[in-house]
Symmetry: D2
Subunit: 162 residues, 4 copies
Amino acid sequence: MAIRILVTGGTFDKEYDMINGKLDFEDTHVPEMLQLGRCTLDIEVRTLMMIDSLEMTDTERATIALNCKMAPEEHIVITHGTDTMPETAAYLAQENINKTIVLTGAMIPYKFGSSDGFFNLGAALAFAQTLPSGVYIAMNGRYYNWDNVRKNKKTGFFETLK
Amino acid sequence: MAIRILVTGGTFDKEYDMINGKLDFEDTHVPEMLQLGRCTLDIEVRTLMMIDSLEMTDTERATIALNCKMAPEEHIVITHGTDTMPETAAYLAQENINKTIVLTGAMIPYKFGSSDGFFNLGAALAFAQTLPSGVYIAMNGRYYNWDNVRKNKKTGFFETLK
Amino acid sequence: MAIRILVTGGTFDKEYDMINGKLDFEDTHVPEMLQLGRCTLDIEVRTLMMIDSLEMTDTERATIALNCKMAPEEHIVITHGTDTMPETAAYLAQENINKTIVLTGAMIPYKFGSSDGFFNLGAALAFAQTLPSGVYIAMNGRYYNWDNVRKNKKTGFFETLK
Amino acid sequence: MAIRILVTGGTFDKEYDMINGKLDFEDTHVPEMLQLGRCTLDIEVRTLMMIDSLEMTDTERATIALNCKMAPEEHIVITHGTDTMPETAAYLAQENINKTIVLTGAMIPYKFGSSDGFFNLGAALAFAQTLPSGVYIAMNGRYYNWDNVRKNKKTGFFETLK
């Protein structure tokens, strides 16, 4: 099954810049993670942007939506910062794209040795293969429908609204 | 959704014994992995055995089948060595258990820092939530039906028969 | 040989705070590192502060000097941020403490999986055992006398002045 | 200061072979470790053999001794399996080579994510720079003279004889 992964940045891909002592983006780690996971799916990875999800505006969301529509694949995984992941999911849902779209991310950067990102990527790819058309968030081993999810900013866990 | 994880050992859980310089089993790493993955699913973990899958006989397989049947959960993940994973999947399929059963494992031990196991566990849990009743293997980011899978012993990748 | 380790913070001990997405201090990782290094030296670890070395003032430096003097051990290792490590070394040298004092640190936090800190700690402990009384910096596998060292802010490597 | 590192194998450099499920040698990890440690010493790395130290015979020891003598450097670090490290140290001591020779190794392979090897390498390089001519073992954060050391096979720690 062909899957497209759209990379947008987020904690998932953050790195430590040793010269300025800050967290920063360089290249995405998704290809390295797919190799480590020994993934044999037919996957295309496209980096659309490398930003903190707090910087995500409708311009970026329109770019993501466009890429979801134009992709030849019917199954799409989007790596995204956790802070505004539900907002982007809602934006994409309103675009009525007839594909299975799964957003995922991480609370801890992949490069920091104890990240949830690798686990989340495995789950997101599995959900993208098995869920019907729609927009979902895959975090914490679960999937959430776009209209029934929020991030609990105190605990860092995602939860349903109802 | 309630999921039961049955632990049977395999490369997934192997550790390096520094005193004798060999690979060995101690406790399972599954609970630690669920925590690292920040998993909020309702999961029960049961260790049934801690063996190399080359040592797996019908006695062990009957134990696994029994535990699948008796578990209150309808969704089951089994961690298992890769060498005989398809044989155990076939055994379980013949038991006609009306549940979603997903076997997974790893080519590299979780403790060795570059394991596929964490990715596979995320995928297996996702498949266990979304696939219909049946017996499956989750490896390499994909799922395989029990009657259409083999491990390629030369490459270490799983592949379909047809 | 008895060695005292004085912990002051620095990149060495920084962690990723997943709730606010920033780098922060919690407890020191030095005891965990000594255990991982299977260290059998007679070591006392004391946390004096947990700060970025850019926040280090003479108040903090006086505290460090006092602790060097009062310690029953003749061999002292100080973990310290790299940015002002030479300044603290110079301050301690002017105190004329008749002990072997070795400052060390890291360019990448220990917790981030690819840190130089574990290597530096091994080297600093070795230098503390073998160098004569004086104040030194142990970084990059080498030791530097307090009056002949600076950090190259562009490369992140330490270098001699002459 | 110029240092030569002679690589002989040992647990230090063992890797997990995912196809046969055994521990094996490929290339040495010493250059990668020096880079991670951000080491700026003038170091030459030479791989002499890649063996378990239980396979070390006088033929191999003579090769190591020859390389110690012929090296232009006065300071030498040898990576070596722990089981017969004291025997090789004693062999080298009898050769009366007028250099500082430090043997080191690891109880857990470097590649396994929780190895003492990186810490030991930092310490061994520091001891090689500061100790007078002689043959030493650097393990557990300490150095041992060649004629006063044994490995405790039960605990895996090195200890003095008297």
